[in-house]
């Protein structure tokens, strides 16, 4: 195999694809990048056996073929290359690759290409084109609520469902639940539903964020999901198992519903959380017309702040995990927040007050005093 390309293009695409290369697997080949040159096109692939990435590379194919090079080393080498043009050539006899740029020459030993698993092709069947921006924003709203606890694998994913005119993602780690429903401007041709590992979606959001692409093609198969954006193809395993029925978890009605200024309350929570260390809860004490946010860490100190809120009725005091509460408030990011409560031991709900379809249900912490 022999190809020539621009150094910058190679470096950018290499950085993208390397994110999928494995850093932990015992299989050496998977720590590498597969370069495939055929039919005049060049593609780079990497996988860690969970997600797979295929990234196109502009350049000229002088001799078709494929080879695997160690990813980290290649990134370091390409970053340091002089000049603007690079050529890569496989030297069959020496089992290595010659990289030339300017007056510099590198010889790098290849890894076993036979061990590289095939990555799924993008096929025309069952494809759904979704607006890229809406998709990525939806991911970013809910991704933090996905569980990292591998002993309950079903919660490590984000349930993605697309119906004709809306896109919905749900994530929960059993302490909090995020739901974001995005109305689509143009209706989709068909829908799908899949529990996709949160990591795959976060990588997708990162990749799409770097491009200007307007639409994203998704296709869900029995065992895999494949996304394509701007020529980059990301595939991932799916998560099997029954995702919790989130509708059942959302209470039917609430005792109190308060509209708060999002930015203000987020700031207060951030500040006071500084003294909610070592698993100490953040206390929200509501009384007629005001809310006192307070926290106390034994042996460290305490903090409190009172803000006016439109609260009416019997006083109520409820405790939350400060990080989880902040995550929810930050996910609303701009505009007003609707905070809905029932009682100190029932979950509270944070909702975007502008009706943009974001819900964040949060379990309280039982307060002892």
């Amino acid at each position: 195999m022999k190809i020539s390309t621009k150094r910058d293009a190679l470096f950018t695409q290499l950085q993208t694809v390397t994110r999928a290369a494995s850093t932990r697997s015992a299989v050496q080949t998977l720590s590498g990048v597969l370069l495939v040159a055929e039919d005049g096109r060049i593609e780079m692939r990497a996988t860690d056996m969970e997600i797979g990435l295929r990234v196109p590379l502009e350049g000229e194919v002088q001799r078709p073929g494929s080879l695997v090079l160690p990813a980290r080393l290649l990134v370091d080498v390409v970053r340091a290359l002089p000049g603007s043009d690079v050529s890569l050539e496989l030297r069959g006899a020496e089992q290595d690759v010659e990289i030339r740029a300017g007056a510099a020459t590198f010889h790098i030993r290849t890894l076993r290409a036979e061990d590289f698993p095939p990555l799924p092709e993008v096929d025309a069947d069952g494809q759904v084109s979704v607006p890229a921006r809406a998709f990525v924003e939806t991911i970013q709203k809910v991704a933090r609520s996905a569980s990292r606890d591998e002993t309950r694998p079903v919660l490590t994913g984000i349930l993605v469902s697309a119906s004709e005119d809306s896109l919905r993602m749900v994530a929960t780690d059993s302490y909090r639940l995020s739901v974001k429903e995005t109305q689509l401007e143009a209706p989709l041709e068909s829908g799908f539903e899949a529990n996709v590992p949160a990591r795959a979606l976060q990588e997708l959001a990162r990749i799409v964020g770097q491009t200007e692409t307007e639409s994203l093609v998704a296709s869900v198969r029995s065992n895999q999901v494949v996304f394509e954006a701007d020529g980059v193809v990301l595939s991932s395993r799916l998560i099997d198992g029954q995702f919790p029925n989130y509708r059942q978890l959302l209470p039917d009605s609430y005792e109190h519903s308060l509209e708060l200024v999002g930015a203000e309350i987020t700031e207060v929570v951030r500040r006071i959380s500084l003294l909610a260390q070592k698993n100490a809860p953040l206390r929200l004490a509501f009384s007629e017309g005001e809310l006192t946010v307070s926290a106390r860490t034994p042996d460290v100190g305490e903090a409190s702040e009172t803000v006016p809120v439109p609260f009416a009725g019997e006083p109520l005091e409820i405790g939350f995990n400060p990080d989880f509460l902040r995550d929810g408030l930050e996910a609303v990011d701009s505009g007003d927040v609707a905070l809905k409560l029932i009682s100190p031991l029932r979950p509270g709900l944070i909702e975007a007050a502008d009706g943009s379809g974001f819900l964040y249900l949060l379990m309280p912490i039982r307060l002892n005093v």
């Binding site: 036979e114 591998e150 065992n223």
Partner: protein
């Protein structure tokens, strides 16, 4: 029928049926039989067949299964010195089983030495084993199916691997140039394990046998003070060192391809693993020697019972006859039990030196 199972009719029948096109395999199999009966090879062959079922490039699937690089084949060996730890299965099996296959229609999980699972590991695996997703096939391997926890065994379909007949094994060894008597002895001492028979017959084998024999005979002569266990333990230490070095060599190979920030974590992990591998190899060697010594006492009982056809050390009849003179069968039986007790204790991280010394003096008191 998967190839290589010509001598294993039961395994061929069960696994062969599952591999027929359009057949859905059972969710879990327990491949049970003595070491050296081809369980690993059969598991690999089964995985290769199953994973290449819908593949357009069957040769590539097969090659990657052989290399252990197929994304839908997970191979788990116990990482503890003597047991399978919970962390061996938590990520690799329990969490992974919930993820759909990467390229095939199935995911195959192979768990070696299932009998070494402790209760905690077994409990963490139970739910996966009981109702795994439709694409999961678990292959549990065990040399000692009697020791597999009943909660595990009852959730698997049993696949029996029969030991080769000692006569067939002996013929095989004789065919490799071993004297017929010695071949018979090695085949019989291996207790159905073909690989062990080979190891006993060639290389270090004869020396190990001699060491074990010396260890068994010393207490009979009232000569425990001769410290016959010392050469045995030297041998075990060498086996341990070899295992440790093999693990560290693998680390060196891996580090070449890992980013520097991963190095430290890997190094700690491998040092840990090497220590366990060393302990495992040492225990294995000591255990083997004690097993041979135990069989010596058992053989003496056979001599007293005039059942020469049952002897394991078949090439040492003169020595056995000499040792058996005037012995008490009950005492010999207690001696066998003492040896077995010590073997069972090896897994508890005892000091080999003390264990062997204590055993030797106890035997002397019992027998001399």
């Amino acid at each position: 029928m998967p190839t290589g199972l010509e001598l294993q009719p039961h395994a061929a029948a069960v696994l062969g049926a599952a591999l027929k096109a359009e057949q859905v395999p059972s969710h879990a199999y327990l491949l049970a039989g003595p070491a050296g009966t081809g369980k690993r090879a059969a598991a690999r062959e089964f995985a290769a067949e199953l994973l290449s079922r819908d593949s357009s490039d069957k040769a590539s699937v097969r090659a990657r299964v052989e290399h252990g690089t197929h994304p839908d084949l997970t191979w788990v060996a116990p990482s503890g010195a003597h047991e399978m730890l919970r962390r061996d299965v938590d990520d690799a099996v329990v969490a992974e089983a919930a993820r759909t296959p990467f390229e095939a229609s199935f995911r195959v999980f192979v768990l070696e030495r299932t009998e070494t699972m402790n209760d905690e590991t077994a409990n963490s695996l139970l739910k996966t084993l009981e109702e795994p997703p439709a694409y999961v096939v678990l292959l549990l391997l065990s040399d000692r199916p009697g020791q597999v926890l009943p909660t595990i065994a009852s959730r698997c379909q049993l696949v029996r691997f029969d030991p080769p007949a000692p006569t067939a094994l002996a013929e095989d060894l004789a065919g490799r140039g071993l004297a017929p008597e010695t071949a018979r002895a090695c085949a019989s001492l291996a207790l159905g394990d073909g690989e062990r028979a080979l190891a006993l017959a060639f290389g270090d084998g004869p020396r190990l046998r001699a060491q074990a024999e010396a260890f068994a005979r010393a207490p009979l002569r009232g000569d425990a003070a001769a410290r016959a266990w010392v050469p045995l333990l030297d041998h075990a230490r060498r086996a341990g060192m070899a295992a440790k070095e093999a693990t560290m060599a693998r680390l060196a190979e891996e580090l070449e391809f890992l980013p520097r920030k991963e190095h430290r974590r890997r190094e700690t992990e491998f040092t840990d693993r090497a220590r366990r591998a060393e302990r495992r190899a040492e225990t294995g060697a000591v255990d083997h020697a004690l097993q041979l010594a135990g069989l010596w006492y058992r053989d003496l009982i056979c001599v007293l019972a005039i059942a020469p056809e049952l002897l394991h050390h078949a090439d040492r009849t003169a020595e056995l006859a000499e040792d058996a003179q005037g012995r008490d069968t009950a005492a010999l039986r207690s001696a066998v039990e003492l040896v077995e007790e010590t073997r069972a204790r090896l897994a508890l991280n005892v000091s080999y030196e003390l264990a062997c010394e204590a055993l030797s003096y106890r035997l002397e008191r019992l027998l001399a």
